[in-house]
């Protein structure tokens, strides 16, 4: 099993065992630009990912 990370309509799969921050960096996403949410709960990005986790990355940059 792996970890699913969802940003807008994209779903990424990463390995369990690393921190959310490392996973975000691995996916080439700017950590400053998202907030990780698991089961509706906001998390800090030092949290270690566990098998089967589903993390929603809430995009925070808005513009125009």
């Amino acid at each position: 099993m792996t970890v699913r990370m969802i940003l807008r309509k994209k779903v990424y799969e990463v390995k369990a065992g690393m921190t959310i921050r490392d996973a975000i960096l691995k996916l080439d996403i700017m950590p400053e630009s998202v907030l990780p949410v698991k089961n509706g709960e906001l998390l800090t990005d030092d949290e270690i990912l566990k098998d089967g986790d589903e993390i929603r990355l809430v995009a925070v940059i808005s513009g125009g």
Partner: protein, 314 residues
């Protein structure tokens, strides 16, 4: 990671402040800080009539929420731009604004551009030179005009907007890149009003990172429009935000320092000797009565006048 103030699990870590907080303490931290900035920058007080520019996005709804909590009386102003397309952006953002106002028993003033001027922003953009590439210039002019008009005619003391630090740092970055000294001189947490018809403006969230207002809305359960205006795609402001976030990642606090150092430089007179700042005398626009430096109609009335001419010609 644990909360700095209690033993509970932190939900947010603000690297620039070396501060991690739990949900409970974060939800009180942000309003306390807001109060501090309101006072520090002399934005308004509890006797003032406040008008909040509400877009349906996270920043403006969170700002409205925080002002209520702090005991400020604030009405909202939603400007319906008539932006649709594959995604009904204006309709949706209005729905979020309405829902927030209704569930909190707040007054929301709605200004509909299409009703006021006879065409939506997108239609106007398609008909004028100014909107050739993007509707944003027309949109910005229209929003600024309507906000000022509603604020001034409604006898509000101050117009507040939800601009956050990322917005301000990106704006500063763009202005500094071109050394637009006139713009730099006017940028800041407060822009004073003018009895000739300009309402005072304030940005109580100008020192919060974008992720902080987003975190607050998630924790408070404030629903906001998550989709962007379709025209925001490829906006320069987003590009600048990304560059600044890249620096922020390597050196936490860079964005905040950039903005605060600018404010200090400004306070020390760095941008006051600009000749562009010598006030051009203002008079009333022949059509709408709003202040303008032009001899007949203001830029807003001229622009919408051209749009109507083209519509009639078509």
């Amino acid at each position: 990671m644990k909360c700095r103030k209690c033993d509970n699990k932190a939900v947010i870590n603000m690297r620039q402040h070396k501060l991690a907080l739990c949900s409970h303490h974060y939800l009180s931290w942000l309003p306390e800080k807001t109060e501090h900035f309101i006072t520090k920058y002399k934005m308004f007080d509890r006797a003032d009539r406040i008008l909040v520019a509400v877009s349906g996005g996270k920043d403006s709804l969170v700002l409205w929420d925080v002002l209520q909590q702090l005991g400020y009386e604030a009405d909202g102003l939603y400007i319906d731009l008539g932006i649709d397309g594959e995604y009904a952006y204006s309709e949706e953002s209005k729905r979020y604004s309405d829902e927030f106002a209704n569930s909190n028993n707040l007054k929301l003033i709605v200004a509909e551009v299409t009703k006021m001027e006879g065409a939506s922003i997108l239609k106007a953009a398609s008909l004028t030179h100014r909107g050739k590439d993007k509707p944003c210039s027309i949109c910005g002019l229209t929003k600024r005009h309507i906000m000022n008009r509603v604020g001034f005619e409604g006898n509000y003391d101050v117009l507040v907007t939800g601009h956050n630090l990322d917005d301000e740092a990106a704006l500063l970055f763009g202005n500094a890149l071109n050394w637009q000294v006139g713009y730099l001189a006017r940028q800041g947490p407060v822009l004073d009003g003018n009895p000739n018809g300009f309402i005072k403006r304030a940005k109580p969230f100008c020192r919060f990172y974008e992720r902080e207002t987003a975190a607050y809305s998630l924790l408070r359960g404030i629903d906001y429009i998550y989709e962007e205006c379709p025209s925001a795609v490829g906006a320069k402001s987003i590009y600048f935000k990304e560059i600044l976030n890249q620096m922020e990642m390597d050196r936490p606090g860079t964005k905040l320092q950039f903005y605060l150092a600018f404010l200090r430089a400004k306070e020390n007179g760095a941008f006051t000797s600009d000749p562009g700042l010598i006030e051009t005398p203002l008079r009333k626009c022949d059509s709408c009565g709003q202040p303008t430096s032009s001899p007949d109609e203001c830029a807003y009335c001229r622009m919408w006048g051209r749009v109507r001419e083209r519509m009639e010609a078509n």
